[in-house]
Assembly symmetry: C2
Homo-oligomer: 142 residues x 2
DNA sequence: TTTCTTGCAAAGAGTTTGCATTCCA
DNA sequence: TGGAATGCAAACTCTTTGCAAGAAA
């Protein structure tokens, strides 16, 4: 029998030191199975559509938690609502420190947001499937 | 005698088909001489500090105009206020289309926003003084 | 003169907060 | 049991809008 993957929302929440609650599991599930970018309002609608009730404020609090736990990416395009997406765990972008030589993953939500802003502004579809940014990491900056 | 540069706010406004008004010149001047990124509130304060009065709604409208005219870049970091910066005209970033081979300038405000988001999220200071994005331009996409 | 711009005041969207209650560990 | 999470309602921040008066072309 295969080992448990521990990549299910419950395990991920526990790893992040958060309690496993119905609201968190529901929001996580909605984000996992919904469209690419969902606003808080869309998450709320999807939750209601599933026959569950979670308060608006809880949705915002849960989204912020998931974002802080690294399970969800938050982006802002234009002046409207923020949009959220489930992070599959796959990460093809990297930060390369030219001082210590260390390479760390770059949060792909940031790259997605950047690519989207370039598309909005210039109509240019950037091929950013594997971006590497060079610079100085937090440790070497200090 | 040298030709007029026509890079002063008044000329730029006229080129953009906008009327040259006191409110627009004042906001433009504030952005040109202020700090790198200013929020609408900061612009308003700077205007008041200069002894001028411009209504809040006008500041928002002027900033949107200048943004639409390409004279000012608008960025959003986090969930707070939008920030605005005067576009000096210098542009060190490029979009390279792998289909037609054409290279066009990439709006540096977008890159600045991206670099800032990377710094906020990862504490990583990306060296993005001359970024080149490859991909497909608007014409080749259609 | 004609159209665009501004001020004023009010509304609106999106998000956050205080507090009592409920729930997970 | 004890601290964290939630619901509810209200507040709050940032931004936009309608309309009449004013200013640029």
């Amino acid at each position: 029998m295969a080992m448990a993957a521990h990549h299910d929302p419950a395990s991920l929440l526990r790893s992040a030191g958060r309690r496993v609650t119905n609201a968190r599991l529901t929001v996580a599930s909605v984000l996992q199975h919904g469209v690419e970018h969902m606003s808080a309002t869309e998450v709320l609608s999807a939750v209601e559509a599933a026959g569950t009730h979670i308060d608006q404020s809880t949705v915002y609090r849960v989204l912020a938690d998931l974002r802080d736990s690294g399970l969800v990416a938050e982006s802002r395009f234009g002046s409207g609502e923020a949009s959220y997406e489930w992070l599959a765990g796959a990460n093809h972008h990297h930060l390369h420190c030219t001082e210590c030589g260390e390479t760390t993953p770059l949060h792909h939500g940031l790259v997605d947001g950047f690519v989207e802003s370039v598309r909005e502004r210039h109509g240019f579809e950037a091929d950013a499937t594997h971006m590497v940014l060079t610079g100085a990491c937090e440790r070497c900056r200090g």
